[in-house]
């Protein structure tokens, strides 16, 4: 068993272990309903953090519009689920919803990737930001309904759909989709998280993954060795978008009201995901998962402090960033606790720094 395989197994192990512990707590009735409610959001934020880490850490391209792909996955799958709610049984419907959500997000990742991936660095970041906002605003202006005559769609208003009396408006402009079946649960979330981890970790350790990282580390050298730079960039970006789409499917099937508004899919939300990735360690997949879980849970666990919690959350964020990443503190930590001390171990195992990126 080589080092990489072992490292990957530890990641799966942590996720499965966390799953088992929470399940046991739930079965024995020791988990508060507050925490129970946090479990599913935690999994989908971990999934999208993994997706973004593939783009930012492995491909090395800063994307700050990733919530746009999550939005696409959420809306396309919610649309399907709502439209076929009374036609298909739950299990196949939810599976197809996943396929649709992932497919649509991947398709748009591909299409957007064509112009966007010709850019580098800051320019790419700005353009992805713009695309994230465009996706959100376009979805906001759609009105789609279904009646006995089939699908009606326009971008003006729900009345202009001219539907029959039996019509059902599914996507209602800014009001989005309400009443998506509540199908997502913790088990499904964990399965999706494990699958995304499996895909990303295996991609990294494959020939393709090495090519992608070569592009990140030295673009010119990679091109000179005959790597199809555009092709690999597209591949990584599309996979990343697809996984973000899967997170969107979980999102829309967990919260029954879905609106394409900025607090869920705007650039602020995208930057929050980026914070998960940066704090967990750019290029460190396991770190993203753990950081996403901790940072999502933190403001919730601080609820007791009322409105002060936002302030405290920000301070904790700054402190965590410094403790984890300041070179001086890392040196101090190693001196004080030793590399094998508890603190050093947590630091190295959880927030294992990726030397290549540094």
């Amino acid at each position: 068993m080589n080092k990489i395989t072992k490292n990957n197994l530890i990641t799966y192990g942590i996720v499965i272990f966390a799953y088992i512990v929470f399940e046991i707590l739930m079965l024995t009735g020791n988990l508060s309903s507050h925490l129970k409610g946090l479990l599913v959001p935690m999994t989908y934020y971990a999934v999208i953090a993994v997706a973004l880490n593939l783009c930012v850490g492995i491909l090395g391209e800063l994307s700050i519009g990733h919530c746009g792909f999550m939005c696409l996955g959420a809306f396309s799958s919610a649309f399907f689920s709502k439209a076929t709610e009374n036609v298909l049984p739950t299990v196949p419907r939810f599976i197809i919803a996943f396929i649709i959500g992932i497919g649509v997000a991947a398709l748009f990742g591909f299409l957007i990737g064509i112009p966007v991936l010709r850019l580098k660095g800051d320019y790419l970041a700005i353009v992805t930001l713009a695309f994230g906002e465009i996706i959100k605003n376009v979805i906001n202006s759609f009105y789609i309904g279904i009646d006995s005559k089939g699908l009606h769609m326009n971008m003006k208003s729900a009345m202009d759909l001219n539907m029959e009396a039996d019509g059902n408006v599914i996507v209602n402009g800014a009001m989005g989709i309400t009443g998506t079946p509540h199908n997502a649960n913790f088990t499904i979330g964990i399965v999706v998280l494990l699958i995304s981890l499996f895909i990303v970790q295996n991609l990294i350790n494959s020939r393709d993954g090495r090519a992608i990282m070569a592009i990140r580390d030295n673009y010119i050298a990679a091109e000179a060795t005959g790597i199809n730079v555009t092709g690999y960039k597209m591949m990584a970006f599309t996979i990343s978008a697809a996984i973000a789409g899967a997170a969107g499917v979980l999102f829309s099937h967990n919260i029954t009201t879905l609106t394409a508004s900025s607090q869920y899919f705007g650039y602020n939300a995208s930057i929050m995901i980026l914070v998960y990735v940066v704090l967990g360690g750019i290029g460190n997949i396991r770190g993203s998962v753990i950081a996403a879980c901790i940072l999502y849970m933190l403001p919730e666990l601080l609820r007791g402090l009322n409105t002060y919690r936002m302030l405290i959350y920000s301070i904790i964020l700054i402190v965590m960033m410094i403790v984890n990443w300041s070179p001086k503190i890392i040196a101090w930590r190693e001196k004080k606790f030793g590399k094998s001390g508890m603190f050093g171990l947590i630091g190295r195992i959880i927030f294992r720094r990726n030397k290549e990126v540094a």
């Binding site: 072992k6 530890i10 192990g13 942590i14 272990f17 966390a18 512990v21 929470f22 707590l25 009735g29 020791n30 988990l31 508060s32 309903s33 507050h34 925490l35 129970k36 409610g37 946090l38 959001p41 605003n137 906001n140 202006s141 208003s157 729900a158 009345m159 402009g173 800014a174 009001m175 989005g176 309400t178 009443g179 509540h182 967990n254 919260i255 029954t256 009201t257 609106t259 508004s261 607090q263 869920y264 849970m297 919730e300 666990l301 609820r303 009322n306 409105t307 936002m310 094998s340 508890m342 171990l345 947590i346 195992i349 959880i350």
Partner: protein, 386 residues
């Protein structure tokens, strides 16, 4: 062996972290000598004004009831939680309150959050009374009722009012297509307007991303000859529209809905421009009846500001719950689900009066029956339009 150590310590750390988390929970309350009422709303962020109004308004009602000896001699315990205007966080807030032992929910403040939470209250059969969740879907479950008008009702009431009082022959509309509230009212208003004694000559949308320049929308309404402009929007945007209409010399009647309440408090807004503005609102802070005067005074003393309709809705909500509890005779030692069923049943039988209407009754669907109040701004204050 070193590798093994690493694995073990990874497992140990995660176990440690998890036990810490698990310790936070499991506070199933058994408070059987008080009613526990919870409220949810955005207490931080851009919409904090609404959430704080709801939480504070309900607090005043709770204090009053407790001072007067409680409901059937039973005191109320009350707690408000923040949802940051985020449906996901609203569900988290609901779960937090549930852990605290909440039996009855006043919330959520906003529509999308309220819909998301109603999915959970339905599963628990908890009685939910939203003071201000106005979207149609907020009350689609049997255990959910509301205090305010629904968006469609406001649209219908506005269309009725304009037609009954012959206010216009040609109507222009400016609405916010990115906002659920605004587009909801607009849709119903447009539907209801068919066959009325006026016609809609222009309907122009804007979004929250371009809510600074309304000259195009105003120009279209002006060119179409609209003598009344319907503004189903919030007051901050409306203040800009009134200012810009004045600059271009366009002076139709402006007609708003309850989101217009607050326009006289906009900073740097020349309130003389709002002269003649009509709005449908359930609550006017300068009304002279004893109930309103008393409420406004208490709110001002406690929180240092004048309450808006959200606060009034929440204040009424607590008294409505009181009436429903008295009618159904539920006691705090009953289970949440039993209380929920009994209160839902009692809601259709009670008749409440409060700040937002002197007579309110409820359908089993959860919709309130009450008369809309129209006011017109004259001399910088609300005056009844009747």
């Amino acid at each position: 062996m070193k590798k093994f150590n690493k694995v073990v310590s990874a497992v140990m750390t995660s176990a440690l972290a998890l036990t810490m988390l698990a310790g936070c929970g499991s506070g199933a309350a058994s408070g059987s000598d008080t009613f526990k009422i919870g409220a949810i709303g955005p207490l931080t962020g851009a919409a904090a004004a609404y959430g704080n109004a709801v939480v504070n308004g309900a607090q005043i009602a709770v204090d009053e009831i407790n001072e007067a000896g409680g409901i059937n001699g039973v005191k109320i315990e009350y707690k408000g939680e923040d949802d940051e205007l985020n449906a996901e966080k609203s569900v988290n807030a609901y779960n937090t309150l549930k852990d605290w032992g909440m039996q009855i929910l006043v919330g959520s403040t906003t529509s999308a959050c309220s819909i998301a939470v109603s999915e959970n209250t339905k599963a628990d059969n908890m009685f939910q009374l939203t003071p201000s969740g106005s979207a149609e879907d907020c009350v689609k479950y049997d255990n959910v009722f509301r205090v305010c008008f629904s968006d469609p009702n406001q649209g219908i009431a506005s269309a009725q009012y304009i037609s009954d009082h012959n206010l216009a022959t040609k109507v222009g509309i400016i609405y916010d297509s990115s906002d659920v509230y605004s587009s909801g009212i607009y849709q119903k208003f447009a539907q209801e307007s068919e066959g009325k004694n006026y016609e809609i000559v222009s309907a122009e949308a804007y979004t929250q991303d371009n809510n600074t320049d309304f000259s195009v929308q105003l120009q279209k309404a002006k060119d179409a000859g609209a003598d009344l402009v319907f503004l189903p929007i919030y007051y901050s945007d409306a203040a800009l529209i009134l200012t810009q209409a004045n600059t271009m010399g366009y002076a139709p009647t402006f007609f708003g809905v309850d989101g217009m309440d607050g326009i006289l408090t906009v900073e740097n807004f020349d309130t003389s421009l709002a002269e003649g503005l009509m709005l449908l609102t359930p609550f006017a802070a300068d009304a002279t009846d004893d109930l309103t005067v008393n409420f406004v005074k208490k709110y001002n003393e406690k929180y240092g500001e004048t309450p808006n309709q959200f606060a009034a809705d929440a204040y009424d909500a607590v008294y409505i719950i009181k009436a429903a509890i008295e009618k159904s005779g539920v006691t705090p030692d009953m289970s949440v689900s039993d209380i929920g069923s009994k209160l839902s049943e009692a809601m259709t039988q009670i008749e409440a009066s409060g700040l937002t209407s002197s007579k309110m009754t409820w359908e089993a669907s959860g919709e309130p029956n009450k008369e809309p109040k129209a006011v017109v701004i004259k001399g910088g204050v609300y005056v009844s339009a009747e």
